[in-house]
Amino acid sequence: MLTALRCVIVRDLLLAMRRRADVLTALLFFVIVVSLFPLSLGPEPNLLRTIAPGVIWVAALLSSMLSLSRMFSEDHADGTLEQMLLSSSPLGVIVVGKVVAHWLVAGLPLVLISPILALQFDLHQSLLWVLSLSLLVGTPVLSLIGAIGAALTLGLRGGGILLSLLVLPLYVPVLIIGAGTIDVASAGLSAQGHFMILSAFLVVAAVFAPLAVAAALRISAE
């Protein structure tokens, strides 16, 4: 079982490495969207500081959506997905592998680059790590929820837009709590409560999302 998990993660990372353009597109999208706000709103430090958490979180949301539709569609097109459905390991395990790989490729880079982007918003240094930490806990939830949407819209025409309509509303709680973490911390309060809720989201999503994705994939494959 663990062999299959490792095999899927390594395979997807290898594929991402050989298709670096896709990964860089999502990352550059994140960088550009975040940078547009300071450019358009002008150098007003108080305003920028206020909007920073929201802007960075929304951009992270949109950027991680970009690669979602490819999560299963290519495997579906070339027949690899069928082989995954017929694997001797439970499908849930394979799904976990795919989600982990998606997060490593589409989520982790955002977490790492966010403190640098936050400098444009004059965010206080002590808040930078709160921002990164909130993204570190939040982006895996985005990948997990997104995987459900990607599996449900598999093989549909115009699935990309449907996927956004399906997944974005489900992202809202994560967005509110995630961006709220930095707001609370900037007001000088403890962000522990927000982190707890965010971690609870992660735990619940990590347990239930793979099962939902597996069920959705079986239906899509018929």
Partner: protein, 209 residues
């Protein structure tokens, strides 16, 4: 070993086949015949559990495949229409990944040996996107060499886009596997290609068994 009981398959509004029953024992080869669109691929997908039949059930050693799930899938190889070969991975990587997912422990050396048997020794390290259609088919068929101990092969058009030498080699593989006491279900339009093996034929058009 494999029993199909009263299967009915409906795609869209069309009933492709109904009341289809057969049993396949070890050491037997079942050929599914029929015109295009007669439901050959659907039948194969039902047999491996990718598709649920409208009615009826498929049993493996007496147990329903829908309750056996991974236990059943551990014992079969299904090679479908699409080759399940990733463009960006090399032929050898593709083969190792496919075998690992299927639950077989396959090292690099075994994968290379299997590719060598299919005449792909020179392209084992090339990304699959530069391979021809026939070569990709061989990469996916090479999995069979590493699945000799699995008791059921389900092959959808295994001979398509293969050259004469590869067709010969596939025939030997199939004959050897049946002689070993395993069961094979396959679809093919060329009856002569597997003439050397005793086989049962199901024609989905005339429903002759």
């Amino acid at each position: 070993m494999l029993e199909a009981d009263n299967l009915e398959c409906v795609r869209g509004d069309r009933t492709l086949f109904s009341n289809l029953s057969f049993a396949l024992n070890s050491g037997e080869l079942l050929r599914v015949a029929g015109t295009n669109g007669s439901g050959k691929t659907s039948l194969l997908r039902i047999l491996c559990g990718l598709l649920s039949p409208e009615h009826g059930e498929v049993r493996w050693r007496g147990g329903k495949i829908h309750s056996l799930r991974e236990e059943y899938w551990r014992e079969i190889v299904y090679l479908g229409h699409s080759n399940a070969v990733k463009d960006e991975l090399t032929a050898a990587e593709n083969l190792v990944v496919a075998c690992t997912l299927a639950g077989l422990k396959v090292g690099r050396d075994q994968a290379m040996a299997a590719l060598h048997c299919f005449g792909l020794a020179d392209c084992a390290e090339l990304p699959a996107k530069v391979l021809s259609q026939g070569q990709r088919r061989r990469v996916s068929l090479a999995r069979l060499i590493l699945s000799e101990e699995l008791p059921l092969w389900i092959l959808d058009e295994p001979f398509t886009s293969l050259d004469a030498a590869a067709v010969d080699y596939m025939q030997t593989l199939i004959a050897e596997h049946v002689a070993r006491g395993a069961a094979i279900v396959l679809t093919t339009h060329q009856e002569a290609q597997i003439a050397s093996v005793a086989m049962i034929t199901i024609d989905l058009n005339s429903r002759m068994i």
